[in-house]
């Protein structure tokens, strides 16, 4: 019986990108400046909706295998470190406010530099996803060293 349960569990884990039963929502608000801001929703079946901060839909589709795998490994790290709900100093004005939610995890981060590592990785993943999938948006470049 236990063996059967394990098989079912293993099977289910392989279905979604990290046994996420609800959608993964990442909401990044604007900062005072030109920081990226967007809303990304990824459903358990790996379909996604990417919108700008005014809720205007920018793109919709399904994560490819590579995206799904990388997201799965990042979310797995977060899942075991989700005791804290708030990161950053709420008194600071003008930083990006970030909301991340999936399953029972719901966190708010005031300023991406205050995000602990697993969340930083998730934001980096989402930023890259946004710049890749929000077509026709100007691409930000960094000043050369």
């Amino acid at each position: 019986m236990k063996f059967l349960a394990l098989i079912v569990l293993a099977y289910c884990s392989g279905c979604s990108y990290n046994s996420v039963q609800t959608s993964l929502n990442i909401e990044v608000s604007p900062c005072f400046g030109t920081c990226l801001s967007y809303h990304l929703e990824v459903l358990p079946n790996s379909t996604y909706v990417l919108s700008d901060f005014h809720k205007t839909k920018l793109s919709k589709g399904k994560l490819n295998n590579k995206q799904r795998k990388s997201l799965k490994s990042i979310v797995a790290q977060i899942a075991i470190k989700n005791e804290q709900k708030y990161f950053g100093n709420p008194k600071i004005r003008d930083l990006s406010k970030i909301k991340i939610s999936f399953n029972s995890t719901k966190v708010e981060i005031n300023g991406r530099s205050f995000a602990p590592q697993p969340y930083k990785s998730l934001l980096k993943w989402a930023d890259e996803f946004y710049t890749t999938n929000a077509r026709d948006l100007p691409q930000r470049t960094s000043i050369a060293n």
């Binding site: 709420p90 004005r93 003008d94 100007p138 470049t141 960094s142 000043i143």
Partner: protein, 463 residues
């Protein structure tokens, strides 16, 4: 005659004896010299190698590198050294080390001076220590890095195989440091002096290194002090960052835990030295704050301080939101006559409908605190503000509100006199609010058309 002949014979014999003796001496000398040469050590061939690839120390101490030869040489071998800082952002400054290398062939018991570019591997030795002194100063610096490259002078005399790998060197700064969130943090004294408190050593561009090494440009300090001294509440700490990639302009917060005002301000200097096209994100180098964008950011941040401070704006007696009869934000309960409370009454009541554009910028839509800070920066940044009428846009009404509010209206001229405040914020609202997407001007009071064009314009930029 016979007597004469005899004397000559004796003389000849003596000469022959002397010749024989001289020949014997010469032969003996030759034999001796030959035997000496057989004892002299002659070797000009060896393999050279180094022990380290990474060496670290704390400033004031020495960096020591160990070099070996497989065989002793019979002549001194010159070793060339160069200090290479081209591959690192955290390069060592020339005044942080003594440029003269020293060397020791007796395991460090005695040291001889080389030059800034060479040391000698003495003959008849196999192990050499090379030493470079670092200088202990009282300056806050990054943990500086460089690479030492070793080479053996190409010389027909020697046949040296092998090589010494380049050695990465790290010199850790030993000053007490208060690590800031941004790049550099200063306390701001009552006399408006800036005192460096800490640096972030985790840098990733050369601008950051330059700011840490040389401090802030005086123009930055003058502008920050000038602007934040125009009102009753100033700043206690200031941080600068240089991060073009983040896009962040700056931020402020009140660091007081006791209901006072201890304001902290952080500004991103990349806005001062780079001009951005906010629709394409292309950037170009500019003289300090040439386009006024940095001045605009500074003014916006000061707008926060002037509208969120405890001294004039917050009612310190009201601690709980439910006890507050006016606007309550994270900073506390706003006094009835405070700028933000009046702003809330004028523009945020549910019954009020604002003509488009309702906000001066996109960012002003984030929340009421950003709305008034942006309206304030727009008021300061414009030489003339048209008076609003009943039919005016929400944005113009808000700028006019700032222009007429007691605590804000008088700040415009003093700020303009110390800093270049440009309306850099090329937001879609500013670009399109009274123009069609094709640039055709439309009436400022044709709000229906403005709203339509605004949406078109924003879509054009944001699709």
């Amino acid at each position: 005659m016979p007597e004469t002949c005899h004397r000559e014979q004796v003389l000849q014999i003596k000469i022959n004896i002397i010749k024989l003796k001289l020949t014997t001496i010469a032969l003996m000398a030759l034999i001796l010299s030959t035997s000496c040469k057989k004892d002299e050590y002659v070797n000009l061939k060896a393999t050279i190698s180094g022990e380290n690839v990474l060496v670290g120390t704390t400033e004031g101490s020495s960096l020591i590198y160990n070099i070996s030869l497989s065989e002793e040489l019979s002549e001194d071998l010159p070793i060339n050294l160069t200090i290479d800082t081209s591959e690192t952002i955290k390069y060592i400054n020339e005044d942080d080390y003594d440029p003269i290398f020293e060397y020791s062939s007796d395991l460090g018991r005695t040291w001889k001076k080389g030059t800034a570019t060479s040391v000698i591997f003495p003959k008849r030795t196999r192990d050499l220590k090379v030493r470079l002194h670092t200088i202990d100063d009282e300056k806050l610096e990054v943990h500086e890095e460089f690479t030492i490259n070793f080479s053996v002078e190409a010389d027909k005399q020697f046949s040296i195989s092998g090589s010494i790998n380049p050695i990465k060197c790290i010199v850790e700064d030993n000053e007490e440091n208060m690590i800031p969130t941004a790049l550099v943090i200063y306390s701001v004294g009552e006399d408006k002096s800036f005192t460096l408190l800490g640096i972030n050593r985790d840098i990733y561009n050369s601008y950051q290194k330059s700011i840490i090494d040389n401090g802030l440009e005086q123009a930055i300090i003058d502008d920050v002090i000038g602007v934040t001294s125009t009102g009753e509440v100033g700043i206690k700490t200031f941080e600068a960052l240089f991060d073009a990639g983040s896009g962040l302009g700056g931020y402020v917060y009140n660091n007081s835990g006791t209901g006072g005002d201890e304001w902290h301000m952080t500004l991103n200097l990349s806005w001062a030295y780079y001009a951005y096209d906010l629709t394409t994100f292309e950037q170009s180098r500019q003289e300090y704050n040439a386009n006024g964008a940095f001045g605009y950011i500074l003014t916006h941040e000061y707008g926060h301080i002037m509208t969120l401070n405890q001294l004039n704006e917050i009612d310190g007696d009201v601690l709980l939101p439910e006890s507050c009869t006016g606007l309550y934000l994270y900073e506390g309960c706003f006094k009835e006559a405070s700028a933000l409370n009046r702003f809330h009454t004028n523009f945020y009541d549910e019954s009020i409908e604002l003509n488009e554009p309702s906000h001066v910028t996109d960012y002003a839509q984030t929340n009421i605190a950003e709305d008034i800070a942006e309206s304030f920066a727009y008021y300061v940044g414009q030489d003339d503000v048209p008076a609003s009428v009943a039919d005016s846009s929400g944005a113009l009404n808000k700028v006019n509100f700032v222009a007429n509010h007691a605590s804000l209206k008088d700040l415009k001229e003093p700020i303009q006199s110390v800093a270049n405040v440009g309306l850099f914020y090329n937001s879609p609202i500013r670009a399109y609010f009274n123009r069609t997407v094709d640039g055709e001007k439309i009436s400022c009071t044709d709000h229906k058309k403005i709203t339509h064009n605004l949406k078109q314009g924003m879509f054009k930029l944001k699709k």
